[in-house]
């Protein structure tokens, strides 16, 4: 895997810099795209390349190439150094001191990825199941397996290699008749091998979605108006944990480094220790959950991964840090630095972000609600770039009447501020579920695998919009 080239690059860079790191990365992937009953395309690639970051007098330079020859690599080292030296840096950048590791880590699949025929059989089976459902307007599936190999080296002596296989599946479904249409999409993802596929219950979920979308068109009622209580299901709780806790707790956002693109944060360093939500709200980011889509043992700055409690019983507890923000905010990195591919700079990312479970069953969450909404899934959502104003619009949603989940309602919208949301939660379910997602951040854009998750939660006195 070109380890000699990586070591050559580090050696060359270290002669002229205070600090340098090399990330050599290869990604082998195989994907199938299925659209409306037939195989649209098969794709495979074996991407590899190397990047270097250098720190010279407080200025950072980055360079990358997929041409893994000594001459080109020497050229890009020179370019990274030149780019760093050319900066008239006003506020020098420093990195927190971290423990240095020399180690290998590997995620071993329990079941190897199969050949293409088994994957086609799976897609065909899903399609056959769906074909028996009513009013399928369009459907679209994408399955991809990949194996990422990385070697991380830095001038402090870090030497970490890893191999991580992963599997993902995505579907889009559109149901329509009588000039009306409803759509939904879902994503599944795990690190590991083909063993994940059975856990996802794709045919059950897509059949359920097709039934619900049909029912929404024929039986869906208008939601009530005014203020009611909401119970939102685990997929929405997970999205909330990701969008309005994980993102605003990224220290690079808080410090303004991403302000021209992904935005800033309504959270400031001075808010550490302040109450944001009720005491039942605890939000965690944990890259060490085995088989999770956001799993890793060491981040892309060589720091050992661990669980972080972002909100603890309603109180702001910690932010997500890399080595730059760790130093800047007088603390340590908590191993939140990741890059999506060899040619991307490592930046602060979530891993598996979820709201911790409580002690209520779904029935208990609903039982004292005289009129409310149970939002089980969503379609439209967005949040402003300081992560303060968000909107979640229900797809599969039900009216709650006198403590019981009743008829389907169409597109109830929850449009609320982040403090308003966390302060309205008065009960948390006990059954946690996780959902795969691809989180976008950085410029150039980097999509990174994550899980979002949590239990069903109850929000009191919410204005339906």
């Amino acid at each position: 895997m070109y380890e000699d080239i990586a070591e050559y690059a580090l050696e060359t860079a270290h002669k002229e810099t205070n600090w340098a790191e090399i990330r050599l990365q290869s990604s082998r992937a195989h994907s199938l795209l299925w659209k409306n009953g037939s195989l649209e395309n098969v794709s495979f690639f074996d991407q590899h390349g190397l990047s270097i970051r250098v720190l010279i007098n407080g200025a950072m330079g980055f360079a990358s190439t997929n041409i893994l020859a000594k001459k080109t690599v020497k050229d890009i080292v020179t370019k990274a150094i030149k780019m760093a030296k050319g900066q008239d840096k006003k506020k020098p950048l420093h990195l927190s001191k971290e423990k240095i590791y020399s180690t290998d880590w590997v995620v071993r699949p329990k079941k190897d990825f199969p050949d293409i025929t088994e994957k086609i059989s799976l897609l065909k089976h899903i399609d056959d199941v769906l074909a028996s459902m009513d009013n399928i307007q369009a459907c679209f599936y994408h399955i991809e397996d990949s194996t990422q190999k990385k070697l991380y080296l830095n001038s402090e002596g870090a030497h970490i290699s890893s191999v991580v296989p992963s599997l993902s599946f995505f579907y889009l479904l559109s149901i329509g008749f009588n000039t009306e249409s409803q759509q939904i999409n879902r994503q599944f993802g795990n690190t590991g091998g083909w063993e994940c596929i059975n856990d996802w219950n794709i045919t059950e979920k897509i059949s359920h979605d097709a039934t619900v979308l049909n029912d929404l068109i024929t039986k869906g009622q208008k939601p009530p108006v005014g203020c009611v209580d909401f119970v939102v299901g685990p997929s929405i709780t997970g999205l909330i944990a990701h969008e309005s806790c994980g993102h605003p707790f990224e220290a690079d956002r808080i410090n303004g480094r991403e302000s021209a693109q992904a935005g800033k944060s309504f959270i400031s360093p001075a808010m550490m220790g302040h109450r944001l939500g009720t005491s039942v709200v605890t939000v965690v980011d944990d890259p060490t959950i085995p088989a999770s889509y956001g799993y890793y043992q060491y981040d892309d700055e060589g720091v050992k991964a661990h669980k972080k409690v972002l909100i603890k019983e309603g109180v702001i507890n910690t932010f997500l840090h890399n080595r730059e923000t760790g130093y800047l905010m007088g603390t340590q990195s908590n191993a939140s630095s990741r890059a999506s591919s060899f040619d991307s700079e490592p930046i602060i990312r979530m891993s598996n972000t979820y709201m911790a479970g409580g002690d209520h069953s779904l029935e208990e969450l609903c039982e004292d609600i005289s009129l409310g909404i149970y939002m089980a899934s969503y379609m439209e959502w967005n949040i402003d770039d300081s992560r303060y104003n968000q909107k979640y619009v229900g797809s599969e949603s039900y009216l709650i009447q006198n403590g019981k989940i009743g008829p389907l309602v169409r597109q109830p919208a929850l449009e609320i501020t982040t403090p308003g949301l966390y302060q309205s939660i008065d009960a948390v379910g006990k059954d946690i579920d996780f959902f795969a997602a691809t989180c976008g951040k950085g410029d150039p854009m980097q999509g990174i695998p994550v899980w979002t998750g949590g239990p069903a939660i109850r929000l009191r006195n919410i204005q339906i919009t």
Partner: protein
Amino acid sequence: MTREQWESLPSYAVSKGSAIGFDDIIAQLNYSQEKQIKFANSDIALSSEWETLHMDLFLAKKKKLLTTTVENPTKTKIAHALHQGQKQISLISPKQDYHGIGTGGSYDAYSYDKDIIHQDDELLSIAQMIIDTGNDYVPEVAGVLRVGQEEAILCSSQNVYAEDKNSWITLSVRALGTDSSGHGVQAARTMKQFTPLTAAHKAGSIARDAASPQKIHTGKYTLIFDPLSLGNLVSQYIDFSSIFSIESGFSCLIGKLGQQVAHEKIHLCDDGRHPQGIHTQKFDAEGTPTKKTTIIKDGILKNYLHNTSTARKYNTESTGNAGLIAPHPWTGVLAPGDRKKEEIFNDAAHALYITNVWYTRFQNYLTGDFSTIPRDGAFIIRKGDMVKSVHNIRISDNLASIFAHMEILSNAVEQIYWWETDTPSFVPYAVVKNVNITSSMG
């Protein structure tokens, strides 16, 4: 890496692939170099440089389709990829509605700046000027300045041989006050065409004027869209015109050819040949010359975007929009109207001026029900005056309805391209009546 080392590889891939027995082969080699200065907190945050060489391969046999990318290709790697492709393609099922690839044509040349990548000092100096200009208005400036150039060679089994060279420079700059922000963008094909300080002044002045924002009532407003905010919606609408979006069931333009889908004053094209377009190139992913395609004329939907195969399926002509797998737009061009920008603002009795939006998401792709969030300055305008800066609002409406009510357009367009809008577009200012504005509780 010298050109001599890689220029013969596409023709090698095609001849080798033909010998193996593929019916259709396209090999496109791209060599690119890019540089980027990222700045934040009015300081340089990171300088980056990329150099990459890769070859995209499209392979078809008996209507079975396969694509792959070969990184840093050599003859050995290409041969290996073709043999792997041969093995895989024998196992897959045909795409019955596949109808082949294009046969090429004659190509026009577009402006190219061969020196754009070699101006390190100038790039850093431009970044510093942008920061200084923004700081004349507000204390904090952030953004990205990026330059690049790319050489491409495409060969196909339809005897297509095509070469292209493109260059670009883009700027996205955001100025931030304590409770406000403004954004400006610039994009050009050559350094000569690039005027970055216009974007910096715009970002800075919006941020300054947007200080002390207030809440407003929710409900219906007449909106004045800045080109930056309109570019986001036009990019979305033109993405919906790809036949891939249509067939996948995720477009509000499905089944509407020949129907009114916008106000009669709306003329929207996809232009792969726009002289200033940063995504302008000579040919698409199968070597078909790029074109200017009318999507909407007088408010009526005229065309979807096609590659050769989908065009043959629907008995029409390729629009030169092939991607490796699916057709995609190059550059949206919304034709300007007849009003001066100043007239639009002076004539507004009570309007909401939206300078930028992000996070556009759909509840229903077929109907176009969606919402998007204004970010950066938003203002209540009365007779040309900014009477109030506003915040914490959301446009919650229907995309088709917004285009149906877009009856006033300014007489000049700007190229919009940034992190949130990755299909570039040339768009004017626009006025749209009766747009629904919502806001968060709590």
